[in-house]
């Protein structure tokens, strides 16, 4: 069994993988230079993938046995490789074009309220639109909005930002004993919600915050406390009776602002952590610190140059270059943002906006 390997070529790079491997995972094995973006697939979640369509690739040769190309672009996260398959990702103009269109679709109803979104800086939609999107949108209608819904003491839901990747649904299904939230309604009014305003409190539910690619699910205990790029990620562990206890602390000085799971190169959680570790252990004495986390150089978080001088130097605030490119996304703050209340004009606030300005401090 194990001696039979399938040869697959992606963007002219060849690799041998075991049968059953998806194109996306084969591409990840080759490296980020050929890996398609994935907004809904999550290797740790069964059944995930297939929905966002950002990972579409062109199969220019089906297999050694049947070399015909596939007629349509396929979702690489859900298509398994065949021996001798040839795939075009970034080398296919068709894929690049289609992906542009799909990124545009993901953004048309997105509030683009990044300046007030806790996910900014670690948001996959920001990365996606920067790398694969166009500079402008052709959408000039009002953006879709949803009624606010309270999911309890831990998780903050901003439905306006959700891209319906279903990751949080699978996480709750597969990690917690009982899933209490899901997708209600259909089409463009489909929304993440609970039945009759249940609160999400089961032991591992905090992980839905980590799997959410956008700022739709954020940590209520960290809400508006800081920008992620002002905090320094350090890996730490503790002896936890419920989970692995391997976590990442987001610190400023000696203060632990936020606890998350550790994430790998693809932005996926390495070990799930429990609610206690995530929401209740917010002091350095709770943890054994291992050292600064490895963060990709491309990430805005690494722009803080923290290594060795935590809290002693002011973080660099302005970034005029990201990986050598000028930022090109137009970020406009829409009046429909959850936090941008009527009567509060961001541009009229003195100095940097603070949660006090929105009257949300004690919420």
């Amino acid at each position: 069994m194990s001696d039979q390997m399938f040869k697959v070529t992606i963007d002219n790079k060849t690799i041998e993988v075991p049968p059953g491997t998806t194109i996306l995972n084969a591409a990840r094995m080759i490296g980020p230079e050929v890996a398609p973006p994935a907004m809904c697939y999550y290797s740790k979640l069964k059944e995930s993938g297939g929905k966002c369509r950002t990972c579409l690739v062109e199969v220019s040769k089906g297999s050694e046995k049947d070399p015909r190309p596939m007629p349509k672009l396929v979702a690489s996260c859900r298509t398994t490789v065949m021996d001798g398959m040839e795939v075009k990702n970034f080398t296919s103009p068709k894929v690049v074009e289609a992906r542009k269109g799909i990124v545009e679709m993901l953004l048309i109803n997105h509030p683009l309220d990044c300046p007030v979104c806790d996910q900014a800086g670690e948001c996959h939609l920001q990365d996606l639109s920067y790398e694969h999107g166009t500079e402008e949108t052709r959408y000039d209608f009002n953006r879709r909005t949803f009624e606010k819904e309270d999911l309890g003491p831990y998780v903050q839901l901003h439905m306006n930002r959700c891209i319906l990747c279903y990751r949080c649904v699978f996480t709750a299904n597969q990690l917690t004993g009982k899933r209490e939230h899901g997708v209600l309604e259909r089409g463009d009014h489909a929304e993440i919600s609970t039945l009759l305003g249940k609160s999400l409190e089961s032991e591992f539910i905090g992980n839905i915050i980590d799997v959410c690619p956008v700022g739709a699910l954020t940590d209520k205990t960290f809400r508006f406390k800081n920008r992620v790029w002002f905090t320094k990620p350090v890996d730490a562990h503790r002896d936890c009776p419920t989970c692995s206890g391997k976590a990442r602390l987001w610190m400023r000085g000696e203060e632990v602002f936020r606890v998350t799971a550790r994430k790998d190169q693809w932005g996926e959680v390495e070990d799930w952590i429990c609610n206690t570790c995530r929401f209740e252990k917010k002091e350095t004495k709770d943890w054994v610190v291992e050292g600064p986390s490895e963060i990709s150089r491309a990430s805005v978080i690494s722009q803080g140059h923290y290594a060795g001088n935590v809290g002693t130097e002011k973080p660099q605030v302005f970034i005029d270059k990201i990986i050598g490119k000028q930022p090109k996304l137009l970020l406009d703050i829409h009046s429909i943002s959850d936090v941008n209340k009527k009567g509060v004009t961001l541009s009229k606030i003195d100095g940097p906006a603070h949660s006090d300005d929105f009257g949300l401090k004690n919420k």
Binding site: A75, I102, M105, R138, R186, G187, D188, A190
Partner: protein, 451 residues
């Protein structure tokens, strides 16, 4: 008069009830089939060349032979009675008036496929038909056609009717399966196909109502004889539900050899267009198929007569042709506004998208909003290209064909009636006063003149 295989006895008084149905020869095909081997029944259906009547036109015999048969795992047949495609109402007619024809078809097909538990998934809005079907099932059971050890063959079969909750997407076979399992009706990613892992992960065949009803005449007359009716790969008879601007809307059975022109104008079928109006366009196979202007409807781009069958209707591809689809035949006369029609369809697909894939979820709504602007005099010239771009992003990038079905009508409307969109945009006030566009496509025969 064409051949009638399905609707032969539709006008017999009391045909809805078992005794009448049996008296005119009902359940003879079942009697015959249950004496044959299951492989032979499948073989007859294969020979008949029957193609799925649900829309895609996939050969039924072939679909049946793909069904996996692992030892000890139950298999299921599911009848797709979700019929929600705008313009399509043929399954309703069959179930309402000839329920036993469907039950007999289901019995034969269940026997052939080895399904002991067979399901009819019926559109939620067909509430009263559920009662008709349940009554027919009870009658069939009382007469020994369902239940245990049918006709002493040792074959057991139960048929259950499951009522949907009114979602078009639950007509897509994998969404239907999800819904039948009690879950949210989201289409599944394929593979695995239902033939391998369908209902409760067991091998499953999903077929349309009309497809399964057609199994009855096939068994009665034999697959070879059935294949002689029709032409090419369009064998047998097809039900069409005709509606729109015609004198005689209704359900017609045709043998797929008649020209489109005859179907619209002959008194046997649609009976022409009311008030002597001229024909403008037609959507011949349910709302998802491309609209064709009159000048391409009666004759193909090559100048040949277009017939009411799978091959002829799709002659010319999407550039100049269309599709047979589910047989929802919608006729538009010269007063109809293509922009308005396209907007209505876009609204439908926007409303019915399940919302899983981003291009379909977001794109259908975007198209609807733009079309609404154009229709209500607020359009911009750039909107037309934008619409074209959006439909192109959706087409072929989604999980299930609903995305394509939403994209095609918009694409076809722009392809053939671009000037009408332009007229709406250039004459915002006038387009509000009289709700129709340019009528120069109305007469099929002369070459369209410039405006």
């Amino acid at each position: 008069m064409g051949v009638k295989l399905l609707l032969e006895h539709a006008n017999v008084e009391g045909i809805r009830y078992y005794d009448t149905y049996r008296r005119v020869g009902g359940y003879r095909a079942a009697e015959k089939a249950l004496k044959m081997s299951t492989a032979d029944v499948v073989e007859e259906v294969k020979k008949s060349g029957l193609r799925g009547r649900g829309g895609a036109g996939f050969p039924t015999g072939m679909k049946w032979s793909f069904l996996a048969k692992p030892e000890g795992v139950p298999r299921h047949l599911v009848c797709n009675a979700d019929e929600s495609e705008p313009g399509t109402f043929k399954d309703r007619y069959l179930m309402e008036f000839l329920p036993h024809l469907l039950i007999e078809g289901l019995l034969i097909s269940s026997y052939a496929l080895g399904s002991n538990h067979t399901y009819i998934y019926i559109r939620g809005e067909y509430a009263w038909i559920v009662d008709i079907l349940n009554q027919a099932i009870a009658e069939a059971k009382n007469n020994g056609w369902l239940g245990k050890n049918i006709l002493g063959t040792g074959f057991d079969c139960e048929i259950y009717v499951h009522r949907g909750a009114g979602a078009y997407i639950c007509g897509e076979e994998t969404a239907l399966i999800e819904s039948l399992e009690g879950k949210r009706g989201n289409p599944r990613m394929k593979p695995p196909f239902p033939a391998i892992q369908g209902l409760w992960m067991r091998p499953t065949v999903v077929n349309n109502v009309e497809t399964l009803a057609a199994v009855v005449p096939i068994l009665n007359m034999g697959g070879d004889e059935y294949a002689k009716i029709g032409v090419g790969k369009s064998t047998g008879t097809k039900l069409l539900s005709a509606c729109g601007n015609i004198n005689k809307p209704g359900v017609y059975e045709i043998d797929m050899t008649i020209p489109v022109e005859e179907f619209i104008y002959s008194d046997e079928y649609c009976g022409g267009i009311p008030k002597g109006k001229r024909l403008k366009a037609c959507i011949p196979g349910g709302s998802s198929v491309p609209i064709v202007p009159a000048n391409l409807l009666f004759k193909t781009a090559k100048g040949e007569t277009r017939y009411m069958n799978y091959e002829s209707l799709s002659d010319g591809g999407f550039a100049t042709g269309t599709m047979m689809g589910s047989g929802g035949f919608i006729v538009l006369d010269e007063d109809q506004c293509i922009v308005r029609n396209t907007m209505t369809l876009a609204r439908f697909y926007n409303h019915e998208s399940c919302g899983q894939c981003s291009p379909c979820r977001e794109g259908t709504g975007w198209m609807y909003k733009i079309l609404k602007n154009i229709e209500y005099g607020k359009g911009k010239m750039s909107d037309i290209d934008l619409l074209w771009g959006i439909q192109k992003t959706i087409d072929g990038t989604t999980i299930c064909p609903l995305g394509d079905a939403a994209a095609w009508p918009v694409a076809a409307a722009i392809r053939h009636f671009r000037d009408e969109f332009e007229w709406h945009i250039n004459n915002p006030d006038e387009s509000q006063k009289h709700n129709f566009g340019l009528a120069h496509y109305a007469d099929p025969r002369p070459v369209p003149a410039a405006v």
